[in-house]
Structures are given as structure tokens and as C-alpha cells.
Amino acid sequence: MLGGAQGPAVQRALQFQLEVGRFFGAERFVPITNAHMMGDIEVLGDAGLALLREFQAAGARARIPITTNARCVDFAWAERLGQDAGECAKEREVIAALQAMDVMTTDTCINYQTLYQPHLGERVAWGDTGTCIYANSVFGARTNFESGPAAMAAAITGRTPEYGFQLDRHRRGSFVVDLSAATLADLADWGAVGKLVGESHQNYYAVPVFVGFRRPPLADELKQLGCALASYGSMGMFHMPGVTPEAPSLDAAFGGTVSDDVERMVITDASIEAVYAGYDLGDGDARLVVFSGPQLSLFEIKSLSEKFAGRRVAPGSMCVITTSNGVISAAEKLGYLKPLEDAGVAVLEGVCFYILQNLSVMREKNGWKNMISNSAKIVNIIGAHKFRTILRRTDDCVDVACTGRLV
């Protein structure tokens, strides 16, 4: 491969992987079965698009299945959202270049709910940090944060350098988080936990071990928790004894026994309430409500469909939901979309709100200062577009959307 016998694309991809592996002291490459990459014009820029074309021209082909993350344009909405026609045309070129390399342009950040569920110990190369932490924690699969070029290179070579969460030694718990005094009845509460734990322990290799929660957590709850941990803490893995597969017990989560002096953090209902109390309107208003980042599962869509049924988004307000093609198709068939559309909710496909092309311009044109969401992740990450953000529970978000007033 390195010598170029398998073509210049494989050679270049492997050279890149070698440098990354060398940085982390990787001793070998390991084969992978699946890859998931981010690649949209908003993050690629013209230089990234040119690089994709170089790989395409060099004969790059994925040798294992590779899917794509949420992108920055839903072509059905681009004009209504005032997105730039030139950039939208480039987004089509990105999609064409990826498809020419046999990349499956699924455009979803919830591949772990909708497309592929790797098994315990399966090695993959996934990008979007929310997908990684879910794969490592809930499935017991093995991946590092593999960004767009890294996941693409992994698909081209069929392997990845063995470092980080590919190795047993980084998969052990590093501190305990006690949830026994936390109710966590809403998805946003799980994101708030992720914020509290992540912000105070920013470290890729910090692996929190959650104990004390008294009912089986749902996939969407673990999704919000993981996305927030990855976003606020740059974390790639967590354990929950009795729930996640590498933690049949608390001791197992720590790779043997828990030391007596292990750090113990406690999350209570009061600490969750304090998170919500930390947000206010400032000098802005409450005219933008977003359910996105991560995309919504079919279960979340069903729930919102019921909450919005018979109501209307307030005049002058905008409410956005983003999800995948697969979820939208199912929601349409099951009748969950119509109540949302009747309420005036914009349901966007294959995108995430915070990466929408032209978002800063959209913000200025609409005079939005605040964004309200039930996702702690998007509340954290939309900052570069100069939004002030407010985290609220799901019911509160629906009320804000329909009244234009913060609750």
C-alpha cells in the first residue's frame, strides 16, 4: 500500500494515517468493518472539496461500507432559508465526489440508531463525536473520534491506527458519577448531566462511570448524555454498570477493582435545575426553537408530533426539527409529520441546524439573538455563529415555540 502498488489514493491515505498513528505511538494498524464520515461544503470549504476531487481522480474507492454524517443543506429548504445558491451547487459537487468513491451519502448523525449497530469489540472508524461515544459506550465497539479525512482514509485503506479507544487501557473508568438523586425525566436533563460532567472534566480519555440510576435508560436518553459528554468534555466513552456491555459491574467498569480514592461526583435534581437557571434571554427574545444536534429518532418525532398536535408556532417565531431521510420517511408513513407541518414546524432532512450553510446570515436577517433547544450539545456548539443559547426541557421548548415567550 505504502509503496503505491494499490494506487496513489491508497498510498496517500495510508501516509496520512501513519503520521496520525505515529503521533499517538500506535504500534500497528487494525482492520475495521465500517466507517462514518463528516463531509459537507460548510466544513470542507473550497480546499476540502478540491481535496475530495484529488482523491476521486486518484481512483479512491471505499473498501468497506462508509456512510456520511449530517450535512449543511436540505435542498428542498435551501431557497426558503436563504442559503447561498453557489454554495448549494458546491454541496451537490461534494455529494457527487463522495458517491463516486462509493461513499453512502446517508447524511445522518444518528447512524447508530438508524443504520448500523456494531457489536461488542467490533472496530470501526466513526466521525461525529456523538456517534463515537455511543459506539464505544453503548455497543462496546471500538473507535476514536475519526474526523472526515480520517474516516475517509480508513475506508480507503480498510484499517485504522491502533491508539486511544482501540486499546483496552483507555477504556477503563476514571471517575464515578452518582445519579441516585437525579430524576432525569426529560431528554434535556440527560444533556444537562453531560454538560455538568463534561465541562468539569474536559479530557478525551476521561471515562465517567454512571451509577445509581434506577430504571433502564432509553436509547434517546443515552444519545443525549453521550452527545453532551463528547461536546462539553471532548469525551469518547462512558460506562453504566448493568447497562453498557463492558461494565457488567462497577469493578469491571474500572478494569478490575475500584480504588477507594476514586473521584466521586454527585448529580442531583438541584444541580440539574441550576443548569436551567443559568440561561436567560439577555436583551434578546425567544423566537427560535430548535430540536436538532443530534438528529431526532422516530420516537422523538412521534413525541413532538403529539405535543404540537392542534397547536401553532407563534407568529414571528421559527421552530426547526432536523432528522434523517429514513426517520422522515417512516414518520410520514405513520402520520407523525402532518401535525408538525400543520403546526408550522420546519422539519429538515439530512442536516443539522448548527452546521446549516449561511446560518450566521440567517441569524442576522431574522434578528435572532437567542436559540432555545432541548439539546445541551447544540446549546454548546452554536456559539461561533454568535447565538446566545438557552437549554430547556422538551415541553418547555414546545411552549416557547407556540407562545414566543420563555418559560
Binding site: F16, E19, V20, R22, F23, F24, G25, M38, G39, V43, L44, G45, D46, A47, G48, L51, N69, G127, D128, T129, N144, F145, E146, S147, G148, P149, A150, Y163, G164, Q202, N203, Y204, Y205, A230, S231, Y232, G233, S234, G236, K377, N380, I381, G383, A384, K386, R388
Partner: protein, 140 residues
């Protein structure tokens, strides 16, 4: 030239570079914090809000989430607004993948916290091969 102070590094990639330091108390993400058209840190309330990373040797204690750096560093390099090097206390693979793709030196782990030792505008040399950062002169 005499060396005023030396920090040793745990891991490093890239060629030797010299430049003016930009030292942050707060972590960094190119997607959350940076305007990728101007090179300015724009996240409201970031400790370096309003500062440019262009041509600076950027010191950050941590990396924040975000898979975007993989492509974003290549993009900002092509736009001419990239820093000369990224110096992290702890980083994540995305930052490393992005810096390797863009050919921007990146390092992780430091023998001494640069906060207090190196000030904004101080002239420093990053030598990934020797895994050291050297303070060459103080800002005027």
C-alpha cells in the same frame, strides 16, 4: 540567540516553526469558537474573544468536542488564516488528524503550564522533532 525558557512536550508533529504566542486559559474548537473566514475567535465569552489565531503559535489547555477540525484546519490553511502551530495540554485525535492533513505543527502535553510563563506576543520556537518549545524573546 539565547533561550529564556524551555518547555518539553509529550508528543509532536510537524516542522520547526517560530512565531508570536497566543496563550489561552480556555480550550478550543474550530467549530464552536472560531469564525473560519476571518480567523477570529468569535464565541461570545471565550477568553480570547476577538483575537486572531492567524500566524500565531496557539496554546490551549484542552480541546473541545467537535469533529470539524479534521477538515477545518485544511480549509483555514488554504484561506491563509491558519496559526503557525497548535500547542495543547491535552488534545483529541480530531485536532491531530486535522493538523496532520493541513501540515500544521501540533503538540500535546507540556512539562510546565505555559500560562504565566509565556505571554501573548512573546516569540517562541516549536521544535516537534526535539519535542521542545523555546521562549526566544519577550513581547516589546
Amino acid at each position: 540567540m539565547s533561550v529564556l525558557a524551555t518547555i518539553t512536550l509529550d508528543r509532536a508533529f510537524g516542522p520547526v516553526v517560530e512565531g508570536a504566542a497566543l496563550v489561552s486559559e480556555e480550550g478550543f474548537s474550530p467549530r464552536y469558537d472560531l469564525d473560519r473566514w476571518s480567523g477570529l475567535i468569535t464565541k461570545p465569552g471565550h477568553k480570547l474573544e476577538g483575537q486572531s489565531i492567524r500566524d500565531r503559535i496557539c496554546f490551549f489547555p484542552t480541546a473541545k468536542g467537535g469533529i470539524a477540525a479534521g477538515w477545518a484546519f485544511y480549509d483555514i490553511k488554504a484561506k491563509g488564516i491558519a496559526p503557525k502551530a497548535f500547542i495543547f495540554g491535552v488534545t483529541n485525535p480530531v485536532m491531530v488528524q486535522g493538523a496532520v492533513l493541513a501540515g500544521i505543527p501540533i503538540t500535546e502535553g507540556w512539562s510546565e503550564n505555559p500560562l504565566g510563563l509565556i505571554g501573548n506576543g512573546d516569540w517562541v520556537r516549536v521544535d516537534p522533532g526535539r519535542q521542545v518549545i523555546e521562549l526566544l524573546r519577550r513581547a516589546a
